[in-house]
Amino acid sequence: MHELINGLIMNNLKNGILERMDDSAIMENMHAGRIAMTTDSYVVNPMFFRGGDIGRLCISGTVNDLATSGAIPYALSLSFILEEGMDIGELERIVKSIASTATEAGVRIVTGDTKVVEKGKGDGLYINTCGIGHIPDGVDISTYNAKENDDVIITGYMGNHEVAMVKARELIDFDIDVESDVAPLNKKIEALLKKNVDIHCIKDPTRGGVASALFEIAEHSKCETTIQEDALPVHPGVRSVCEIVGYDPLYLANEGKYIIICPSGSTKDVLLEFGKDAKVIGKVGKTGEARLLYETAYGGIRRMGMLETTQLPRIC
């Protein structure tokens, strides 16, 4: 069993380092002044959904986290915790998805581990990835850097991932044309930095959605941020699901979107890089007090906060 799994992984992911199977991976020095590092564990049910799978997610999530600081992903680790009896065909699909996503992101998996747990002690497969990257000199991007008059950009439709997961979990029996947006975004950030586009903050609005992510930026940067109702990009199918079961798209999870906060001089370049669905959704206001405001199309204003619990389909 172990040999089979190892063979499967090596055949798909070999890169000159991984298949040496040394206890530690040895790489060339990154020659970087600063290194970024991140880790995440992926517990995803179900493992396959429209637009992606746990394999694509475990690479995208980690490289996207690295790139929020402007880091260029350099290497990833990959650990599987497999439940005994996991379908090998499914595992192979996941490993192939990992390989293609890693290629897309331009990152190598240099070390890994596989543990098998007894049947009933896991949900098929858990994955942990850890990533390192180097931050180019002069780049300073963080959620603490939002400045007055900066533009707030979302790089595409909100909430597609969570709606695709709700559908995949069969929580609702709807036909929808919505796919998860899961994708690595690091190449786009790299391209912007190469062009010396000035960016202040990048955040990936995963669990808790765009509103929770913006609230966190407002708290870190101690600023007021206002978003405009009529500027928010929502896929019609996602909007309809929200209306029918009572979700707020601003609190739905995304896996292939960034919130980017930048001086208005950089906005054109950012929108161009991310394509037609990227939109300016608001502005950073005065600094001092952390507040997230939502302005309706007819001039009503309300405050927004973090999402405290997962949204559930409701009748009321």
């Binding site: 007819y298 927004m304 409701r314 009748i315 009321c316």
Partner: protein, 349 residues
């Protein structure tokens, strides 16, 4: 600028222009509470108009005893408990339905019938919550179960009806309510005429839809009536609501259910304000089928949900609000339901 936006801006100015007296307007329906918060309606109104939330969130008014009854079913692993997502996080004595793997969230009562058919060796218990809009749907499911002779399906009815509870609130001296935003989708079933009784309490009402423009129109109409000391029940949601409602739905509801006394959280028992399954359908009444007997659960100490539902207190008046009681760790049901007064207040203010 589109038409709706223009109209809302006109109404904003008009309301300010005509509104002279202090007025307290209660939205009876929890979905209106959500709309008022989501569309930032309060920020469009002058200070003399006070919009308060009423008892129209079915989760918020469900008594601790009823929640304990549902939990009794969930603790028996041989059963599957089906519920709308609204009920999952309501706490009762440190426990909630979300803690049990055999509790399934359904979108429709029909889903629970399907679960019963697919699991013939398990008892499937549906939690019947909601008002006149939802009760006919549950009644339909019970009738269908009878027709199919489905032996493993039953319902805990916690349904409530609007008029008697509204009467109790309107006649309460401490609850100062001048006008009512009447529930749009309840009215779709009951018809406009059903709400004429509020005039007996010297109160006007307007049946409203749920868009920002609907609610602004409704407030304008209510302020106008109040200024002119006129008493009326207006249907301003005529694209859905008729004078007499959906008769088939009302008949279906009273075919399966009969009125009963019902416990409202924080308010207490209100005679004839609930719906229980008739004897004719007793085989589908989970309380009878499983002989459920739960001793009374008191409201948690310090929780002022009852006064908040009766518009005697604001969420911020409650000592627990935002401290011991948050959406992540709710004490009272007004914080649990996303349409609950406290949750809407916490999220949007």
């Amino acid at each position: 600028m589109n038409d709706t936006v223009k109209k809302i801006r006109i109404l904003k100015d008009k309301i300010k222009e005509i509104s002279q007296k202090d007025i307290s307007i209660m939205e009876v329906c929890g979905t209106h509470t959500m709309s008022v918060a989501r569309f930032a309606i309060k920020s469009l109104l002058p200070d003399n108009i006070n919009v308060i939330s009423g008892p129209g969130c079915p989760v918020c008014v469900t008594s601790g005893t009823d929640i304990e009854t549902a939990l009794t079913m969930a603790r028996d692993e041989s059963k599957i408990v089906c519920t709308f997502g609204d009920m999952i996080k309501v706490p009762s004595q440190g426990d909630n339905l979300g803690n049990y793997k055999n509790v399934k969230i359904v979108y429709s009562p029909l889903d629970s019938l399907k679960i019963a058919k697919d699991n013939p060796d398990k008892e499937v218990v549906m939690l019947g919550i909601g008002f006149e809009t939802t009760a006919p749907l549950i009644a339909c499911a019970i009738k269908a179960a009878k027709q199919m002779a489905l032996p493993n399906f039953s319902v805990i009815s916690m349904h409530k009806t609007v008029p008697i509870a509204m009467g109790a609130i309107l006649s309460d001296k401490d609850a100062k309510i001048d006008a009512l935003i009447l529930p749009g989708h309840v009215s779709a079933i009951t018809g406009r005429k059903y709400f004429d009784f509020i005039k007996d309490y010297e109160t006007s009402g307007v049946i409203s839809g749920f868009e920002a423009l609907d609610i602004m129109e409704c407030i304008y109409l209510l302020v106008d009536l109040y200024n002119n000391e006129k008493l009326d029940v207006i249907n301003n949601y005529s694209r859905i609501v008729s004078e007499h409602g959906n008769k088939l739905a009302m008949d279906t509801m009273y075919d399966v259910f009969e009125t009963c006394d019902s416990g409202w959280r924080g308010i207490g028992t209100i005679p004839d304000s609930g719906l229980e399954i008739k004897d004719e359908y007793a085989a589908f009444n989970a309380r009878k089928k499983f002989g459920i007997n739960v001793s009374e659960v008191l409201d948690p100490p310090g929780c002022r949900c009852g006064e908040i539902l009766m518009a005697k207190a604001k969420p911020s008046d409650c000592g627990l609000f935002g401290k011991n009681c948050t959406p992540a760790n709710p004490v009272g049901p007004c914080m649990v339901s996303s349409e609950g007064t406290c949750a809407a207040f916490y999220k949007y203010q």
